[in-house]
């Protein structure tokens, strides 16, 4: 089999995921797109591992091992990422990425409000701890 087939497919999948990361509004959809990119990389790793193990008698199988590691890391990443998205959603009431603009310049109406909210919550938490 031509190595170009899996390589081109991996490139196309990667760019699809790239588009999703850049264009999707919902944070969970962004996470899905990240998964797509990771899988594109995995496909590349597997294809080149197969090619190398056949041509150079390589018994290390580093590509496949790395693929397994990537899958494990992707699982961890999706867990942490979802936890963060959930926390953001509970704090802000939304998981839309383009509404989370605290770092924006000149958006004072957003910043102080959320800051005040957070300060209020922190103050309340501190009070409960003090009394507890």
């Amino acid at each position: 089999m031509h190595l170009a087939y899996p390589a081109v497919l991996a490139a196309l999948l990667f760019c699809t995921g790239l588009y999703g990361v850049l264009a999707r509004r919902n944070a969970i959809l962004v996470l899905m797109s990240v998964e797509l990119m990771l899988n594109a990389v995995n496909l590349n790793l597997v294809a080149f591992d197969v090619w190398l193990s056949r041509t150079t008698r390589d018994t290390l199988h580093s590509g496949q091992a790395l693929t397994l590691f990537t899958i494990a890391i992707a699982a961890a990443e999706i867990g942490i990422g979802l936890a963060i998205v959930l926390a953001v959603y509970r704090n802000r009431g939304t998981s839309d990425i383009d509404k989370l603009r605290d770092t924006a310049e000149g958006h004072e109406t957003d910043g102080p409000d959320s800051d005040a909210l957070a300060a209020e919550q922190a103050g309340r938490a501190g009070k409960t701890e003090a009394t507890a």
Partner: protein, 230 residues
């Protein structure tokens, strides 16, 4: 290899190549739908198709162990997690008109440019490279296991530590968010109104189930209580 590559043109594909090409088309199409559909749950389901297609591609590349791991972890758990996430964030069911942000055209430009550059480079580099898939499978469970536990033991164990850390981190993140979000100040008065067991709440550490309102009432009552203690 170059000799063998010269024998195999793109215009006379083998059976494996045809199968790979067809499954690849399905996979790519499903990926495109995943990143463009307006229905969020459908996006997750199309992702299943994409990941499954990739598993088939792994099989075609004789990496069978990875293919099954792909099915188990991605299709089995990751997508389920994603669906849970969608539900917990109250993602709208049905078509949502604002699934794409205003950044779409910039994203499209960047993605197409990146794709063009990558495909050009990859084709230019590997158009004559031939992978011989005959012979024993290079990615069978036995081979992969042997390589993993002979050469990759230490990274494997390190990875398990990383997974543990991710597990703990995810729990901490979710738990803290829960503690902060589960303190509705509206019904605090209703909860504290004349409840005889309220002073006891001072002896318990504030956990997830201890509303802030209760401790607030404890603040109000504590002076009288201290008087009584004297």
């Amino acid at each position: 290899m170059t000799l063998s590559a010269a024998e195999h043109g793109f215009l006379s594909p083998t059976g494996v190549e045809i199968a790979f090409l067809l499954v690849g088309l399905v996979t790519f199409g499903a990926a495109l739908v995943t990143v463009t559909t307006r229905q969020l749950v459908h996006a997750a389901l199309w992702l299943v198709v994409t990941l499954g297609g990739l598993a088939v591609e792994y099989l075609l590349l004789t990496a069978e162990f990875i293919a099954w791991v792909q099915v188990l972890i991605y299709v089995g758990s990751v997508v389920v997690l994603l669906l849970f996430g969608l539900m917990l964030t109250k993602a709208p069911i049905g078509r949502s008109p604002d699934a794409d942000s205003g950044n779409r055209w910039a994203a499209l430009t960047v993605a197409v440019a990146a794709a063009a550059a990558l495909v050009w480079v990859v084709v230019d580099a590997f158009r004559t490279t031939w992978v011989d898939l005959d012979g024993p499978a290079s990615g069978s469970t036995a081979v992969t296991g042997a390589s993993l536990f002979q050469n990759w033991v230490l990274p494997f164990e390190a990875l398990s530590v990383l997974l543990l850390a991710a597990l703990v981190g995810a729990i901490v993140l979710s738990r803290k968010a829960k503690a902060e979000s589960s303190s509705p100040p509206v019904n605090s008065r209703a909860v504290t109104g004349g409840s005889p067991s309220v002073p006891d709440s001072r002896n318990h550490p504030i956990g997830g189930q201890a509303p802030a309102g209760q401790s607030k009432s404890a603040v109000q009552q504590s002076p009288a209580e201290q008087e009584g203690a004297r």
